[in-house]
Amino acid sequence: MMAVDYKELKKGGFMRMKQKDCFSMRLKSVGGHFTAAQLATVEKVAEKFGKGYVHLTSRQGIEIPFIRLQDIPQVKEELHAGGVSVGVCGPRVRTITACQGAATCPSGLIDTVHLANEFDKRYGGRELPHKFKFGFTGCHNNCLKAEENDFGVKGGVEPRWSQDACTYCGVCEAVCPEKAITVKADENTVAIDRSRCVYCGKCIKSCPMDAWQGESGFVVSFGGLYGNRIAVGRHFLPIIFDEEKLYEVVDTTLKFFEEHAKPGERFGTCLDRVGWDLFIKEVEVVIHG
């Protein structure tokens, strides 16, 4: 029998198990969405080729353990016929994670599902010096933990107040988790301390008169790690409102990673070594021109 190319198998989402010639097969997931029909396919394959169970991964994926080496071609075929793709592993853009976002969540400020799919189309599986993770979370509640990712995107909104509609009821001051808003009903004034605002949008979503409005945008964090080494992704850019601008920032980030990282070096570790300032300067050019 030919030597097994484990690296190639891993690239195609087959994770070697302790048990000889057995693999845990990673399925492709974008933002953790699977259709009922896809799940039916997964069920069938797990019953027929695995041990009748699946493992839900930490990044919203599904793995089917105990797939035998000789069954791999047939497993791939049956999955493909049932609308399920195999995932990726190794030094490349990994599973893109997302919360359910603005499409369904009352707190959501950005369409995380759309973004995750668009990012997957543009960057999914791209070869890089090491693994690279994108994660999307719809709002400041951060259910999807944006800062764990090499590149995290969090929905935010910059609130603007308009005097005409305001009844000075005080609800915005009460709901603001950062105590950034001060309402003085007797003086008919509302003040916001911009340095304290975290773009959560609670003032906008609570205001009964829609006196608070604002445009939603993307709050980006860089260099997060949550494995062998733990580092919180850093924020240094202003909120980005234009989706195309966001892609320019990604392109610059991935180019920087390709040019500066050693093989097997994570993005955050690379930045620590070559200097964050160098990277910040390049990204700021994208933002400010």
Partner: protein
């Protein structure tokens, strides 16, 4: 009650946590007619951050908010006030 505003009913939700906070408010609003006002006594933190948003989502209008000395809040809410 806050601002000395007259309320048609009052509900204290300081004894429950999310999501029962809003459930209690909804039940209290059920007994009122459109345009009538409910006083809601609630805690700082999650309740005050979330209950006003849920009220707005369901079309009820917060008329006033007052913070008490013990860090609780009193809301005055008009049933279906946003539809009028």
């Amino acid at each position: 009650m806050a601002d000395g505003m007259k309320t048609d009913a009052n509900v204290d939700i300081t004894d429950v946590v999310c999501p029962m906070t809003f459930v209690k408010v909804k039940v209290a609003l059920e007994d009122l007619n459109d345009g009538q006002v409910l006083g809601v006594h609630l805690n700082d933190g999650e309740p005050i951050q979330n209950v006003p948003r849920s009220l707005k989502d369901e079309g009820h209008k917060v008329l006033s908010v007052r913070k008490a000395a013990d860090d609780t809040y009193d809301l005055i809410v008009q049933k279906n006030g946003l539809a009028q």
